[in-house]
């Protein structure tokens, strides 16, 4: 497991418009040079926020990653995002 690398990928997409563009165009290529497990890579490529949070990604980064990809804040976005996490309990996020 490489939680730090997962968080770093989320961080890059959130903060960096060109990284977000690259991820949108080719998520697998964007993730290729990163040191991730298969499960992490798949969850990141699929924008699977539930799996990411279950794996211990930082919830705030995961949210901002999804927010960047959604293009901006709205209540429907939040409802959809939180809906995907229902039943999860957040655990350790130490990197």
């Amino acid at each position: 497991m490489s939680r730090y690398e997962v968080d770093k990928a989320l961080w890059d997409v959130y903060r960096d418009a060109s990284a977000a563009k690259q991820y949108r165009r080719d998520p697998v290529g964007f993730l290729a040079p990163r040191d991730l497990s298969d499960e992490e890579r798949e969850a990141l490529a699929a924008r699977d926020v539930r799996r990411l949070v279950a794996l211990g990604s930082h919830p705030f980064l995961t949210y901002n990653f999804a927010l960047r990809l959604a293009g901006g804040f709205s209540m429907p976005f939040v409802q959809d995002y939180v809906g995907q996490l229902q039943g999860l309990v957040v655990g350790d996020i130490t990197t």
Binding site: F60, F73, V78, V90, I93
Partner: protein
Amino acid sequence: MARLVEVVCVPHDPTIPAGLRAAEPPKALAETRDAFEHLRGRLKEASPDVLLVAAGDHLNQWFMHNMPQFLIGKAPRAAGPFDHERELFGLDAYDTEIEGALARHLLDRGVEKHSDFAYSNEFTLDHGFVVPLSMLRPEQDLPVVPLFTNVMAPPVAPGTRFHALGVAVRELVERFDQDLRVAVITSGHMSNSIGGPRMLDFVKDPLSEWDRRTWEQLHDGDVGELVAECTFERLYEQGNGTAGFLDYLFALGLVGDARPTWSALAAGPTQPPAGFLRWDEATVNGVRA
């Protein structure tokens, strides 16, 4: 010598400014606006020369590859927010001078005894700073000293250290050899689960049991007990972002655990609870007006 003339704790939800542009904001947001407006007036009356602003950075620039627990910004100017925050939340720019001599004093005297602050000459103020500053001092005319705190990436310092830092910063400010009136804005929040499965719990329960108990402790309870209870792990259990409350404990250290002169708690099914606390000059300095 420098003197503390006003201390406030306020929230910094980045959706507040855009929400207030709506024709009719929901009740809790209107109460949030009213609280900010009240504090804006009091801050003006306090006529500070400088604003010391303490808040978290939200992993916008300090990240797990190089994470300071407490950092003082000592560049000539402080500006923000980040482009991505402007884009995603519709935040406006804020840009002002830094009170460099006070920033340098905190670093130089702090490292001798109190705290090994990190420092930076290249940084951006994120929404944790820009929202409170825009709401409380929209004129952008007062110099600031930004104090960044890590409340998001473990290990996070416990409440006892945030409180002790407040005690130390007050002592350092009062030893500063310039006749400055210093107001302090600390920004954090009550229970908060941004990005977690409980993010919308406020829809059903605008105030959690932890919020109610904490608010009571702040006003009538045992502040020492509250400070001791606020470890990252315990706050995280109350919502994955609740450690943002630690910045309020910094303020308690600054004011010597005095009860607030004024407070407001804006809560409703449309937003996470927004807690506002104010200590006036007389209360901060132990003289009840």
